[in-house]
């Protein structure tokens, strides 16, 4: 069963420079919410940004990961500047 830390690690490992905050918002280990900040999103539509994150998990989305609610942003659009 995936946990928020694993999901965070996998997103950050797959998307260069990404910072992810992940929470399990039902506590059930299958509904997650992630905010991902990455330069890699620059110039991409929201759809394309979310696809980049979904692609990290492939068929696990809808399977072991029932839901992964996403908010994606670039460091320049993030409400609080990242530390990098």
């Amino acid at each position: 069963m995936p946990d928020p830390d694993e999901i965070q690690r996998r997103i950050e490992a797959a998307i260069p420079g990404a910072l992810a905050e992940v929470e399990d918002y039902t506590g059930g280990g299958d509904h997650f919410r992630a905010t991902v900040t990455a330069d890699a999103f620059a110039g991409l539509s929201r759809i394309e940004q979310h696809r980049l994150v979904y692609e990290v998990f492939g068929v696990e989305i809808g399977g072991a990961i029932h839901a992964l609610a996403l908010k994606t942003q670039t460091p320049s659009t993030a409400p609080t500047p990242s530390t990098s």
């Binding site: 979310h50 696809r51 609610a69």
Partner: protein, 135 residues
Amino acid sequence: MSSQPEPLPMIGREPHAAPANGGEPVAVAPAAEQSNPIRDAIAEAINEHKVILFMKGTPEAPACGFSARTVAMLQSLDAPFAAVDVLPDPRIRQELSAISNWPTIPQLFVDGELLGGCDIVTEMYESGELAQALL
């Protein structure tokens, strides 16, 4: 076990009395000869409806919170939309995701293009972009 292709279950949803297509239910009968009738029927439905939502359950009885929220946003904007329940046959979801390259449900299409799932639709609703996109 033989599995004959079944008609894609479709529900026409027209919140207002007589918009463009007269509120007729959406019915798609896939041609039995084609290699992938479900995918073809989905693609056709996407092209034929300005606004079409693929969801779990129906607008009257959504079967998932994300689908329910998306329906509520569309209804609050008084936007007529067609809706397809993906639950009756797992192949609907499978083929839909193959077409859209999007793994989750709901999926909202406007003018033949994937606008997004619940998260993106929510962001667009809050920013006013959804109302613009539905014009």
